[in-house]
Amino acid sequence: MASHAVIVAGALTRRFGEVVAVDHLDLEVQAGEIFGFLGHNGAGKTTTVRLLNGVLTPSSGTAQVLGMTPADEGPALRRRTGVLTETPSLDERLTGRENLEIYAELYDVPQADIPDRIGDLLEIFELADRADEKAGDYSKGMKQRLALARAFIHRPEVLFLDEPTSGLDPVATRRVHEMITHLSHEEKRTVFMCTHNLAEAQKLCDRVAVLEHGKLVALGTPLELARRLGRSQRLEIEVAPGDHEKVLEMLAATPGFSEVREEGDAIFASGAEREAIPGLVAALVSAGVRIYRVAPQEASLEDIYFALQGEEEEIS
């Protein structure tokens, strides 16, 4: 992965009257990464995408995308970025192919390249057999795939995807996930993905930022966030059936492990820091416990997200 930042925001702020939609946002997105931008509806995700594409001007602060200032160099910047809007925003009275043709012209794709470019995208996004039907007759998943193809018609260096799987069924969702991974890994594009789907972010994103009421409350990989927030480990321990009692007693006596319980053949313990694990394993071995498996379970993005929300509520 290249190491230079393609998106840089510094104290980026946008107000709508009294409402602060984006509040002193600082972030950097590196070239080639899939960057997740998390937050509930109204957290300021879409406003940020608009600011980063020069569709809205900031109230204060700075932004640089691909080395350009969106507010001043919007048209030149938008030639190099592609945006999948939250709603597909397709002309439903036009066919799928016509939708792509219009946007190929708008993005100044060379005339001679348009038929092949569109043909390739229709194949990749599995729309070739329905390309000459009106977009209004497409299923929701097909519309989303067509909108994704449209966002990619000019092969942008940075793709902004706003809720790319919102309202899709699991099959369509999986297909869109594959597309995003393809665009990042095969086409080497930077993907800036707004979502409130935490499982999706955990699955696809290299790094995530969590936005709450326009403010950035966390930034990093899901693992980094879990550690930075000091979240405790959840430990799954599998030992020989005859050793269960001994392990339960030892865990109860070890400082830090606050919650210990049996579930089937495994024992689950949580509450202690990550650093407590080696000591525990050593103690169990010394005590002659026959250990089959010790599996630390990292906090999920969902755990982190709700933990952050809890902190925000405490602060406010």
């Binding site: 569709v55 938008r78 397709l90 002309d91 439903e92 009275r93 036009l94 946007y103 012209e105 909108a147």
Partner: protein
Amino acid sequence: MNWRAIRAIVRKDLKVVFQNKGVSIPLIVVPVVILMALPGLAALAPRLEDMPGTSFSGLETLIQNMPAGLRQALTGYDEVQTTVVLALVYLMAPMYLILPLMVASVIAADSFAGEKERKTLEALLYTPTTDWELFLAKLLSAWLPALGVAWGGFILYTVMANLAAWPVMGQLFFPTTMWLVLALWVAPAVAGLGLGTTVLVSSRAETFQEAYQLGAVVVLPIILMVIGQATGVMYFSTWLVALLGLACWAIDAVLLWVGRRTFRRSNLATQM
């Protein structure tokens, strides 16, 4: 100026407009009624003379009350021919202006407010067009078809008027100089008037219908002109028509200036 993008938006808007029956049907029906049915009715004028209870004495009184210029323009025609010329040349003139006005208003309402209603505007805002290019493309999407209908309609009306009135007139009497000025100078300006008004209204309207209904207020001056002509208060001389065109172009310039100032990506984005 990115003319390729402008052409693409115009083509897209026209494709979308003409696939909407609610928009395209009035665009066909109104010109057909005004340009074909009304001249056809004029062909009945000679027969009215023979109908019981019909007389042209009222017409004589009307002509006596007309401005001197119009009376002079009608010199040399008999009563039946005067009726035809009054109807087809003078009374129809302001009605003809309804065409470019209506076409421009309908398409502009669909192009500006309709785009918001269909939620297709956002993707357009993310394209590499400037605000001015986007605005110009939207204007041309409505103005060019209005011009096409106005000029195509003028040719059609010329044929229909001469054909329908041939039994009475016995000669080609249309177009007059006034009508040439009306079609070539005033009609494009009137299209701009409908367009400019609808664009301003559309920035506030949420739906096509709302924009079209609010923008329809601009048709009032045309109705006043029809009444003015019918009652003899005014008549369309070549000079009056030329001045009318000048006034319309001046208003267009103001509307264009205001429209350009209000048509900002950021304004549109905040309304979505």
